[in-house]
């Protein structure tokens, strides 16, 4: 009897394993056979939890208009988001629709992972031309833009008031930044906080000093020119000569955002999605202003869009969602959380904050924004090679010239590979 029992138990165990692995496939097959009348399920991935409310409304509105489509929403934190896409998209097990930014569109499009979008029913004129272009290749659109990231300066009014210093204005230059940062610095506070990475930090100074970070072909790095060294020296002096900003080692211990929200730092640069976070932490003490100008006014521009997976089983339904994403209705919903790509909805985003916060500064920066300068080949690896050397420069372990030359060599090695 014991033997029979144990045999049955063992078989039962095995059965659980087999059915556990198999059930999903059967379900999928069943729903596929049901043809058009059955509900089509689409998976949507995005990374920013602060968009949960807005995204829920977007999905509800879309589902109300399309009864046979159900959208399952999954939020994956930024740290794992691209890893997840990287492993699921090619194996056909990933989302049907997902958020995609400019840098990863450069990775995904050449590998045929994004669904080409039919723009016949999409009003492309409502977008900034640059944003459309960033998410396209050879004139074909691959993601419907919904959010733009420009860079502006945020500051803590309380720290200015405490020292009786005037708030920064739109006509500031680098010299104003340096002088004021020094004046605001004391034992417990830094006047300025450097961002030693690319998009919110060093790239802006390079662009403002007239450096084209990569040549037109996107394959020739250009950031060791005299103008580039000059732009880096300016930031280097802020950190090491004036000691108006924490250096990269100190930032590695406590991040820029944490320091700014704790009221330890008076001024720093950030992209538009951070305004909501900082406003929550600082309240009305938060102010935004256009970036101080160098030889010219400039900042980086990043675009985020809704993309469809090229491997989706339901391309028609995905196209329907992407068309919906381009409507004014959807843009308005998104604008509750992030600076929308459609300029008509921009006012809705600015109105999320009191007028004194001046979130409008991020919209104003659009006029002088340059697309994020990335290599057209291996953008992720080249950017990480560049940022790693920026880390060395601003930790003080390499001089500006050494660091930039090493960065060029590392980037060229990646591009040659």
């Amino acid at each position: 009897m014991k033997k029979v029992t144990s045999l049955v138990l063992a078989l039962a165990l095995l059965c659980t394993l087999v059915t556990g692995c198999g059930s999903k496939k059967e379900e999928a097959a069943a729903s596929g056979e049901g043809a058009k009348e059955e509900t089509v399920e689409l998976n949507l991935y995005y990374w920013d939890e602060s968009f949960n409310d807005a995204m829920a409304k977007v999905v509800d509105t879309f589902e109300a208009a399309h009864e046979n489509i159900k959208i399952n929403v999954t939020t994956i934190p930024w740290g794992e988001y691209w890893t997840k896409l990287q492993t699921t998209l090619p194996t056909d097990s990933g989302p049907d629709i997902f958020w995609c930014n400019y840098m990863y569109s450069l990775e995904f499009i050449p590998n045929n992972l994004l669904l080409p979008i039919d723009t016949a029913n999409i009003d492309t004129d409502q977008y900034a031309a640059e944003a459309l272009d960033m998410l396209s290749a050879d004139g074909q659109l691959y993601a419907v833009p919904f959010m733009l990231d420009t860079v502006a300066m945020v500051y803590n009014k309380d720290l200015f008031d405490a020292k009786g210093i005037d708030y920064p204005t739109a006509d500031w230059t680098w010299d104003d930044l340096r002088a004021t940062a020094a004046a605001l610095t004391d034992e417990n506070h830094y006047g300025y906080c450097l961002d030693y990475q690319s998009q919110m930090g060093t790239f802006n100074f390079l662009l403002q000093n007239g450096v084209s970070v990569y040549e037109e072909d996107g394959l020739t790095p250009n950031f060791n020119s005299d103008a580039a060294v000059e732009a880096f020296n300016f930031q280097y002096d802020l950190v090491f000569t004036d000691k108006s900003s924490p250096n990269a080692s100190q930032l590695s211990e406590l991040s820029k955002g944490d320091r700014f929200m704790a009221g330890q730092v008076a001024m720093t640069y950030c992209t538009s999605p951070y305004v909501a976070t900082y406003y929550e932490a600082l309240g009305d003490a938060l102010g935004c202003v256009e970036l101080p100008a160098g030889k010219e006014e400039a900042c980086t521009l990043n675009a985020v869009g809704f993309a469809g997976s090229a491997n989706t089983a339901h391309p028609e339904e995905v196209q329907m969602f992407l068309e919906f994403a381009s409507t004014a209705e959807c843009q308005e919903l998104i604008a509750q959380n992030g600076m929308p790509a459609c300029l008509d909805a921009a006012g809705t985003w600015v109105a999320n904050f009191p007028e004194e916060v001046n979130a409008q500064a991020f919209i104003s920066m659009l006029d002088v924004a340059h697309r994020l300068p990335l290599a057209h080949k291996s953008p992720a690896a080249t950017r990480s090679a560049y940022e790693s050397e920026c880390g060395n420069i601003f930790a003080g372990t390499k001089t500006v010239e050494e660091g930039l030359n090493d960065a060029i060599a590392a980037v060229q090695a990646e591009l040659g590979a």
Partner: protein, 322 residues
């Protein structure tokens, strides 16, 4: 068949039935089948989720796969590039430094604490629980909390050091100290689990040895070195093998201490703590060079294999099984 009588028919059926029963009984009796069926669920799991991926990674290490494209075979290109990669040297050095820093310290402390917890001390159960607590907490969560404890301005560690008049360093923002911070947190984190294993080993040692030693008038030090340690050696061996393997695969704490994700890869602290697994992660998932990352994983596999084989070879000299 048609002209069989009813009796014959019945007998024939009976025979078939007996035969079937006999076969079934034979099947039951063979322990083998039952055994295989019982290990099947686990074996299938290990094959599908561990062994096949290992073989797959080995195959991919000879390609230029970026995890998005169709892989192209590049033979040994990844390996030759890897051997020339300055990061690999840094990673090897850091990995071994970390292993040498964590394994012996954890081992010695675990043996001492296990001995202490095996004595009849007051609140023994409470202490056992306290030492085991870090084990049931997720490493990433542990690292997040320690990131704040070790903060040079607001952290409690430096405040305590300050109380004794020592000016604490910037643990996580100084290339000279960050590795020590990682080692300290690892030791604290690993201690509990290994103490419990050794404690179980200690409780398996028969009291009669100690009674005999008492009669002979042996000192407690003699008892510890001549009875406890030799009889505990199988447990110590197990603990040292698993600790070494874990140490060579260090990742979580380093990932969090350098700022997590994309922030990590630009952190100026990274070169002081980047380990081989960190390099595999960075190449595969940040730089999207999966084939290259697989090649590095194969090298790490070979290293762990060699060290474990060496440990097994050496055990003959110091491990006693009674």
């Amino acid at each position: 068949m048609a002209n069989l009588t009813g009796k014959q028919n019945k007998r024939c059926l009976q025979k078939t039935w007996n035969c079937a029963r006999y076969r079934l009984k034979q099947l039951h009796d063979s322990e083998k089948v039952n055994g295989y069926l019982f290990i099947a669920p686990l074996t299938i799991g290990v094959v599908v989720f561990s062994i096949l991926p290992i073989l797959f990674a080995f195959a991919m290490s000879f390609t230029d796969w970026n995890s998005l494209s169709t892989p192209q075979i590049t033979a040994f290109a990844n390996y030759s590039k890897l051997l020339a990669d300055p990061n690999l040297k840094i990673e090897l050095r850091n990995t071994f430094f970390y292993a040498l820093g964590t394994v012996p310290v954890t081992l010695i402390l675990a043996v001492l604490i296990a001995n202490a917890l095996n004595q009849k001390i007051p609140c023994r159960g409470l202490f056992r629980t306290i030492y085991f607590l870090p084990v049931v907490t997720m490493q990433v969560a542990v690292a997040m909390v320690w990131r704040w404890l070790l903060n040079s301005q607001f952290g409690i560690v430096n405040q305590i050091l300050g109380f004794f008049g020592i000016e604490g360093p910037m643990w996580l923002g100084d290339t000279r100290f960050i590795m020590f911070a990682v080692i300290i947190v690892t030791v604290w984190n690993k201690l509990g689990y290994n103490t419990i294993i050794l404690l179980a080993g200690l409780q398996g040692i028969s009291d009669s040895y100690y009674e005999a030693a008492d009669i002979e008038g042996a000192s407690s030090w003699k008892k510890f070195t001549k009875i406890t340690l030799p009889l505990l050696s199988p447990s110590i061996f197990f603990v040292s093998i698993t600790l070494t393997m874990d140490a060579l695969k260090a990742f979580d704490i380093i990932y969090v201490f350098t700022g997590s994700g994309a922030d990590s890869s630009s952190s100026p602290m990274l070169k002081a703590v980047r380990t081989m697994v960190y390099g595999i992660y960075e190449n595969g998932f940040i730089n999207m060079k999966m084939g290259y990352a697989c090649a590095e994983a194969v090298i790490l596999f070979a290293i762990i294999m060699a060290i474990t084989a060496f440990q097994f070879y050496m055990q003959k000299k110091w491990v006693y099984y009674d």
